[in-house]
Symmetry: C4
Subunit: 219 residues, 4 copies
């Protein structure tokens, strides 16, 4: 039995538990940020849970690295998304897309078309990026004296305006931490949104060109 099959077996065994752990991570972080009047005991429990979960993710990353048999910089490059989600564990639920794909594949279910999958993947990623970003920026901004971001609803509204590049400016981060996270969201949001609109455009052209050959469009 060679390394590759060990790697695959590790992936198949751990992917569902780790995905659930990533959801728990996101939920714990959200609870920590949003439940302002949490008693100190619970607060410590939250931080402890986050730490344990992150160690779990780091262990998974290390095991994958060893099983892959690759050197470090090369592993980090070829498993780029794994590397990103170890550094930014809030984005880990993104792995639902390959997971869902893999499960569908095993069950032999028909898969979505290429463009539909890219749109679904990039849209889900954008939503998750927006939600995680709103949480993280809200945590930074809540304490600032001259903030305009008073509720989590404000943070979500700000995140939507930022990722879509509308940028009203009625609510903006004022702390250095909040602005740094915001810049990351701009970069990621732009790339993902470009993928959504690009694929949607190609997909629309495809539908229209297919309909030219057949009867008038369906609806």
């Amino acid at each position: 039995m060679d390394d590759d099959s060990l790697y695959t077996r590790w992936e198949q065994r751990t992917e569902i538990p780790l995905f659930l752990a990533s959801l728990l991570f996101l939920a714990t972080y959200a609870a920590r940020v949003l439940a302002v009047s949490m008693p100190p005991g619970w607060r410590s429990l939250c931080w402890f849970t986050l730490l344990v979960l992150w160690l779990l993710f780091a262990t998974d990353y290390l095991v994958r690295w060893i099983l892959s048999g690759l050197r470090f910089p090369r592993f980090a490059r070829t498993h780029f998304l794994h590397t990103v989600v170890v550094v930014l564990p809030l984005l880990r639920p993104l792995r639902i897309v390959p997971l869902y794909d893999a499960i569908q594949h095993r069950q032999g279910a028909p898969r979505l078309s290429l463009h539909a999958r890219v749109i679904a993947y990039a849209s889900l990623s954008t939503l998750l990026l927006g939600f995680a970003g709103a949480l993280a920026v809200f945590q930074q901004e809540r304490g600032a004296p001259d903030t305009t971001m008073r509720t989590f609803g404000d943070a979500v509204w700000w995140a939507a305006a930022t990722i879509s590049t509308v940028g009203y400016g009625d609510i903006t981060p004022v702390t250095a931490g909040g602005r740094a996270i915001a810049m990351g969201m701009m970069a990621g949001g732009l790339a993902l949104l470009g993928a959504v609109t690009g694929s949607f455009s190609s997909w629309l052209l495809q539908i229209f060109s297919r309909e030219s050959d057949r009867r008038p469009p369906e609806g």
Copy 2:
């Protein structure tokens, strides 16, 4: 006579009356939102008309579903635009594009080129999305105490700045309802606008590359 021909016959018989009904729906909704000092009797009539028209659309959707002979999730997916316009009946006039196309086809009229049709379709959709969004957000915001959206003109100006992602921020929704609709407009507007600009870009390249072979450009 099989199911498909029944479906097609239903479509051909109902498409023009239903399109007129969708215009009536949009007009009634606009009247309801814009005519502030409407007497209560008329107001109830408006709501009643909207309800009846929506039931009509829902019935059409049900009949199509039965005639198509498909299971539900699959029908909702393959007839995605039908599903969207049942949930958001304000966007139903969008069906003018396939309708116009079908009529042109029956009369044997020459059809627009592929890119021109995608541009026309996406531009019309963007306009309709902007108008319906401006109406819906204006209805939410009108009552808010600290709103900056005082007239319907403000709402249209805000909608244009939002869908084009310019986002000046001189006028922004402040209610939760208005912001939720605004997020939907950002998502839809970005996808449609990407389709417009993408197609326009391809179309321009096509025109220029065609002109390279012939004489200098016409106009």
Copy 3:
């Protein structure tokens, strides 16, 4: 001698004088808008010049229509850019691109590559749209009591922020006329900018893929 050659001959004879007339139109309009303290006599002269030039453009359009031998809606569609510049004569200098192209062609000069020509064309159009839009919006806004657009420099800055969809919102039109022109600029700007970025992206990919085959990139 058939209609087509008459059309071509008309085009060749008139294109250079009409282009100079379009520059005069833009300059006169700019003078009219920017020279606030112009004596009434000069002001009337400006309007008179604009009217005469516009009648010239309208006559050219009519002659082309007759010489083309086409019915009206079809002529307006196939000569779309001509139709646009009759309605919006400020954009008429756009015809420099086909003019320059035609002159280069007659002299047998080597033409730019496809992508370079689309980029040049769309960039020039964007600049002209921004300048003409800044002039037209400034004329609307200057008199408004609560305007933030005090100088023509403000108008140019606002136009750049609008066409690039940055939309700071530090300066925004407040009159209905100014906002209507601004919406037109958003629509046109987005389409043209999409063409610039799309072509630039394709062109960069082309350069990089060409360099993969040869030596390392030049610079």
Copy 4:
């Protein structure tokens, strides 16, 4: 030995020293802008260093022009990036991309895929454009009486919001110089960002379509 090989030899000998000189130029300029309370002697030294470095770059440009054996307008066009970085020496570190590429090539290292290279190139250029732009605008704005850009952190935040076209408008340049540089950043940023998103979109489609043939996605 012909002109071309002289040109290549000049390039190989000078590229590393000139790249280090360009980093020194950027660092000196940054020191000049950011160190407010610099003694006058150091200030003069900074200007002197910038001048000497720029003369170095100009000499390199002249030598390349002579060695290339081309006429001026043609040389400026075919060596477009060289021409840009002589006029705007702050952007000169951009030459790291062809330099890195060339070194990798000589060592026979495997090169990144086409899309990855365009993404890397355009992202690096965007970062550099943003940093250089933030420095230059901050220098213009610092003295202005009614500025909202008080620290260099504000300038970086403004630059990120501008290049991503989010444009909150919480911080905006108010001087003519700052606004002129900002317009250049909008133009450059849009083109580069379009290249990043376009390539990312193509690259994502490529990955997804490759995975359709093989096993479910890796991560």
